[in-house]
Amino acid sequence: MSYQTGMAPVRAIEDDSDVEEEALVADYKEQVQYGGDMDELDPGLLAQQADDIQARLVQAAQPLDYQATLETKFQSYDNYCALFHYILNSEGPVDLEPPSYYWAWDVIDEFIYQFNTFCSYRARIARQANNEEEAQILRDNPNQWGCYSVLNVLYSLIQKSQITEQLAAMRRNEDPMSVAGPYGSKNLYRMLGYFSIIGLLRVHCLLGDFSLALKTLDDIELNKKAMFARVMAAHFTTYYYVGFSYMMMRRYADAIRMFSHILVYVSRTKNFQKNTQYDSITKKNDQMLALIAICVAFHPTRLDDTIHTALREKYGEQLLKLQRGGPESLPIFEELFRLACPKFISPVPPDFDRPEVNVDPIDHHLSIFMEEVKTNMWSPTIKSYLRLYTTMDLKKLAGFLDVKPEELRSMLLVTKQRTKQLRWTDNGLLEGELVNISDLDYALQGDLIHISEAKMGRKLVDWYLRNLARTYA
């Protein structure tokens, strides 16, 4: 990995975004390398050192077999509790080095993943009510993988590591070590604390608290220099959950910006991805494309060429139907949402005695989302008609659309109201400016609709610079 040493100083001086991206790509190669090292670990050796704390650290980052029994899942939970207890509640900071740069992410990721699958599994057992034996075990152990304890671990890691204070210091261009304290100055705590923030983003989103999810990231700047950007999976996860939360808050422009950013990045690094990692990334990639399709239907906008092509290849037909709107688009919205949403969970144990009252959380969130979809479903039709005129009589348009004038009045109001959206400018992810995001605007004078369309001026300077760069490249 000799190129690494060569890269480091360049990264420090250069501020140009392309160079940064190259550095990221190089980092990614390093990560792929890391995966290779792990595969070579001798399983026999691991077993011998089972008591060894280093081995436990490695163990905690390993995925659990997905067919694991309840007993194994409980055991895994206890192992995590013991490990985090050791890390958090020993006398003073424990003297351990994380096995690798990516370890902290893997641990937090796996911890939340197991929590997520456990909750989903428990809810399924309650709904299906055909496995009395497991239902009884789950009923007797309501505190296994409890939501409060998962949140507690994440918050404790954040607090112990003073990561919030460290990130704030970094923003002020000060030395984070000056505020890190005895724990946060250690690699192990700093990394765990940092990735716990991203873990929280994910947990809040899984519980349906989208604004809190975004608030969690207040201290992390979403740019290529962010620490998470060095770990591909973390980078990917962060943008997926931030984008999804934005979408659920009806901030479609921001959601598209998030998804686009990460998808362009993935397409740039595609060539070095190893097969196993590539599978999970492909799946999330497709999910994010589906979410972009939904957001673009709500908020038509020009996409990056790479993404536009990928979207047409993968969901071309669906996108067309979404953009056409109307009742035919509803099942497509549903299909794509189900395919692309996180596996929502309910934080409390289900009611095992009354299976019929346990509603799948996905259905719950979907039904709320679909309400907004239905409210908006005529917008594409209305807009496509309005684009043809500068003035139009409301009753005449109602005739074209075959609706009553008063219904059309409501549709016009809805469509106009939705063109105003909060859009991020800087500071926290929840902040933003209320802007008009549509190029089409109209106002009513009684039954007369006045329509105006914003014209795009030609981007001459952009064109000139692009061609200049190409010619001299």
């Binding site: 140009d16 939501c147 949140l151 918050y155 519980l207 349906g208 608290d209 989208f210 604004s211 809190l212 659920m248 808050m249 009806r250 309910s346 934080p347 409390v348 009611d351 009354r354 009252v357 346990n358 509603v359 799948d360 959380p361 259905d363 719950h364 039904s367 709320i368 309400e371 907004e372 239905k374 409210t375 008063e406 009045r409 409501s410 549709m411 016009l412 109001l413 809805v414 106009k416 109201q417 939705r418 190029d439 605007d441 106002a443 009513l444 004078q445 009684g446 006045h450 329509i451 105006s452 369309e453 914003a454 014209k455 795009m456 001026g457 030609r458 300077v461 952009d462 610079l465 001299y472």
Partner: protein, 238 residues
Amino acid sequence: MNGEDPQERPEQIRNIINGLERYNPQAADILEAYLQQQCEEKFCDCNANRVLLKLYQLNPDRIKDEVITNILVKAMTQFPSAQFDLALHLLSPSHSNPGPNSSSDLAEAVSKLRVLNSQLEGAQYARFWATLDSDDIYADLTTDIAGFEEMIRLRIAQLVSQAFREVQTSVLEEWLGLDSEDEVKKFVIETCGWKVDDNGIVHVPKNPDNEAKKTEIREDVTVDMFSRVIKRSWEDSA
């Protein structure tokens, strides 16, 4: 009007929202009292109310039905926005989606409120007032919220002003849920400060939203855009 983070929010509530205190089940009492205050003093703090819903989500034994419905009604007054939905997402799935076999009072109330909210979100204001009148349960659900109808009416008027330059009194009569043209005239003149002409047409003053002006989006050019070209020419000549 800021229903997400209002100025009225006291220090104590701010600390709960921003700290770990938000997970303390005991904070529910304080937040419930604060909700009561919002209901009486006609302001809305959706952010704080979501903290309360979150506590209920994690501690279902603390749930008070009327608190949940009050939060939803409060969030509804913020239409059109995602506030109602964001609150709904925090409810237990069984509370917001009554199944055929199960129907608690809370689930029924929530589904009634969802109907109302979707009418407001869908700008079907005439239907909203009709629905509100159709069932006594709505009076029960909104009784704690001081000035509920008045707030909705004002909000509708504000939204109308953002889309209309002129509008017939008859349309407003239905949309504002008023009983006669005279009441409409009184409302738009006294409360909104608009004018009504002899033909019963209401004139809304000009504002940036009801103008629908033609605009041209121009390219933003900054010095930074040239940095690479300049750098290159510097390097080449050096």
